[in-house]
Every structure is written in C-alpha cells, then in structure tokens.
Subunit: 298 residues, 2 copies
Amino acid sequence: MTGSDFAAWMAAIQERTEAALARFLPEPGIAPQRLHEAMRYAVLGGGKRVRPLLCHAAGALTGADPQRLDVAACAVEMIHAYSLVHDDLPCMDDDTLRRGKPTCHVEFDEATALLVGDSLQSQAFLLFGEHRICDDPARQLEAVRILAQAAGSRGMAGGQAMDIAGTGKNLSLQELELMHIHKTGALIRAAVLLGTHCGVPLREDETEQLDHFAKCVGLLFQVVDDILDESASTATLGKTAGKDAAQNKATYVSLLGIARARELAGELRERAEAALAPFGDTGRRLRELTDFIVTRKF
Amino acid sequence: MTGSDFAAWMAAIQERTEAALARFLPEPGIAPQRLHEAMRYAVLGGGKRVRPLLCHAAGALTGADPQRLDVAACAVEMIHAYSLVHDDLPCMDDDTLRRGKPTCHVEFDEATALLVGDSLQSQAFLLFGEHRICDDPARQLEAVRILAQAAGSRGMAGGQAMDIAGTGKNLSLQELELMHIHKTGALIRAAVLLGTHCGVPLREDETEQLDHFAKCVGLLFQVVDDILDESASTATLGKTAGKDAAQNKATYVSLLGIARARELAGELRERAEAALAPFGDTGRRLRELTDFIVTRKF
C-alpha cells in the first residue's frame, strides 16, 4: 500500500512545513529575542508533523492550494507545539526530553517556556488573521472558530484537564476515550477539517464521513502511541518512554492489554479506511497516512 | 469633569461586561467541570474592567452597537485575565492574591491555572469566530489580527518576556517604556481599536489620532500603577502591594522618584486628552476614563 511514492510525498510535505513554519514564526533577531529564539526552538527541526500531513492529505479531497494548506497546517502545528511545551512543564508532566532534545523549559527556563506556549497560540490565530486560506472571508472566520474550538476547554486543553483529573484513578475505557477525543482527537480533527476548508466546500454528507474518519484516526493515533509508549525505547521515540505507566495514567494498553490494544488499532484503521471509501482516489493520501500511523515505530 | 453621570455609565458597563463574560464563558456544569469552574473563577466577579470600559468608550466614536462592543470587550478581557493567571504562577511572579481573592493556582492548582490561561486565550478567539462585531467578515478578520498581534510575542506576551529579562537589571527609562508599551500598552491599544472597529470605520487620520491616544493611555495606566504599587496598601489594591520593589523590578517610581512620576502622569494625561480633541463630544467617555485612570486609588 504505502510505497516509495508515499514516502517521497511525506518527506516533501514535512520539508515544506518546516520551511513554512520558519517563515511564519517571528525572526530570532526581532525583540524580544530570547522569546523568539525559544519559540523557534520549540517548533522547528523536529516532530513527525502528523497534523500538517493530515491537513495536506485532506486538502487533496477538495483540490486545495498547497500554499493555503501551509497556512492551515502551520496554525494547527503551532497549537500542537504550544501544547507540548506547556505539557512538559514541571507543573504538568515535568518532562525533560522532547523530539530528542531538551524540553523548552530545560533549554531556556520555565517562565520563558510558559510565554513560548502562550505566544505560539497567539501566533496560530495571527496566521489566520494575516493569511487567507479561503477566498470567502466568512469561511475563513469559520476556520478561526474550528481552530479555537479544537484548542480550547472543550477541545485539547479540556482533554489535558481530563487527563490530570484521571491520573491515578481507575478510568473506564469510555472515560479514557472521552479524554483522548478531546486531548489529541480535537486537534487532529481540526487538521483534517481545515485541510478541506482550503479548497472547494464538501457536501454535508461528505463532511460527516470525513468527520468520522478524523475521529477514528485521532483515536487510532492515541492507541498506537500507547502501544509504542509501552514497547519502544526512549531513544527511538525521542521522548521519555513508559511515562504513562510511571505516572499511573490509564492507557489503552493498561486497560486492554497489548494484544487487545493491537486489535483495537486494527479495528480503528478499518473504520477509518471505510469512511474514506466514498472519496475514491482523492482519499489516497489520507489512506496512506492512516497506514503510516498504524505501522510507525516512533 | 467626571461626575455622577460618568460613575453611572461606568457601573453600567462593568455590570453588562460581567453579564456578557458570564454568558461567553463555558457553563461550569459542562465537562471538564473543574476547568470551567476555574475559568469562571479567574474571570468573573472582580477587576476594574478598564479594557472593556475603554472598548465601550471608544465605540462611542463610531456609533458602535453595544452588543457588538460586548463581544470585543469580552475577548480583550479574556486575554487580559489569562495573562494575570499565568503571570501569578510560581514560575512567573509567584503571587497569591489577585482582585482580593486567592490567585487561580492557589485556589485550584498550578496545572489547572496553566490550562485556565490557555483556554481563556482560545475562548477569546472563539468569540470572534462565533459572534460578529462587524457586518463585513473581512473587517472581522482584521479584528482577529489586531487581537492576536496584541496578545502575542510582539505584544503582551513579548512584554512579559522583556519584563523577565529586565528584572534585577538597571533598565533605562526608554527600555522600561518599551517593555510597558508591549506588556500593558498593546492590549489597551487593542481594546480601543476594537471598540471603534465595531462601528463605522474611522478615517485614516482619525485612526492615527486614536492610536496616539491609546499609546498615551497605556503608558499612563502603567505610570499610575507604579505610583499606586508604591503608595497604596495591599487591601486597597486587592493584589500584593510593593511587589515590583521586592522583586527588584524597575518602575517609573524607582527610575524617576514619585514626584517626577506624578508629573509624567500629568503630561501623559494632557497628551492623551489632546489626541481626543478632534473627536469633540463623541470622545467624552474616553476623556472621562482618562481622568478616572489618573485619579483612581486602586
């Protein structure tokens, strides 16, 4: 399924995303310099860029312009990067390693890391204020709404709060799923929706199908993350392995065991791919990405 | 100058702002409940609402609709409230008292306070995605840009970074001013600009005048803050008095002495009021607010 063509496409999107992020972040020479250096440190030169990949792949469904997709992809990635910086802070997960490098507050300091996260969030919305992803400005405002909803208390940040509330407790599978739908799923869904948003509007039934795909892929991503967290090494992951178990957090593996978690990943992949069926060949990259998310080793 | 009519106007704006904020924040009963409770704790029931007052007062210049002004005022106030929550965290100013109540991380916990700030920022942009402040959606996108720029690394968050970098150093008056133009001034300017943004567009020369007013009022606010921090009590302020001196931070009072700081406040007030002259009677509330900012005791 996923061949060298996909690998080349993925590398090309990762490369253009890196270049676009470098362009959309304030230059390190602009005051306040240390903050701008730290923002670039937190965002550039690392990460699989799963959300930008999903955004570009989804854009293929609506014939979206790649330069517009860069804007949407970078806005989503900046929100993701801010959440990692804040999540690594001592008052949250207190982690020292991220994307194979010292975390932002270790490399700089806690106060700077706090402001890096805050500033990256503003910068994401600034992108939508400064660069058009659709001709119709009302539709662009809808993109602002999608991103803000996905990032906020009923999206990603809310998922973080559920994660904290659930630590050390016996979560049910349903509670774990609700947490992940918010914590990771909301922004992955936004990446997919905003990707299609850059092109010709989908029909309502198509949007529903895609929404179902995005939900399955968001959960799939998390199930695979939990499996890797249990089975891969810190060196391979570029972040601390086995963290959830050490922090007494429920995971798909701790609740289901690794064999059943692998089965669940297989089921979610099937559901995700079924949701893409109506899109035919335009859904190819999304299908390949789903395979990649299942088979990734880091 | 400022009479009982102004006091009644101010009370009415504060009251409608409180009601609008309560409406625009997620209900405390919605999951994640503790986060939503904490967001409401951090925003509701306190504060002078200087930025919403400036927003409504500026709206008078362009005949803006009060309900639209509520949206703009609440978005700005949510950004302000998030900055206070993060600023009070142990890794920043480590403060325990705000608006006469325990700070958010004291009342809840650090991780929750971090997420409260993050979520309030998203919520501010969500407001602009969900509620129109102008008929023209392109103009509304411009409002997103104004708010994001004012909040981010070249605005408020950048000012915080300059503040940290300057702590314990001998700042020049120019460096202190640059810091405050970012830290407090940027969002005060946004409050004024977004207020006018809700109504009929100003001419370019009018916008420039108003921009000059906003800059003067932003600095004026800070100079008076520094004077109060030196001379008023913790009980009166509702926040820890004398904090800047204790943290070895430069202030207008530490650099100029209290007498010269008072003179500077008088000069800035004159410049602010001169900038309002072309607006005649429509600038009345802004003029009265400027007086209030100078003469306030808390």
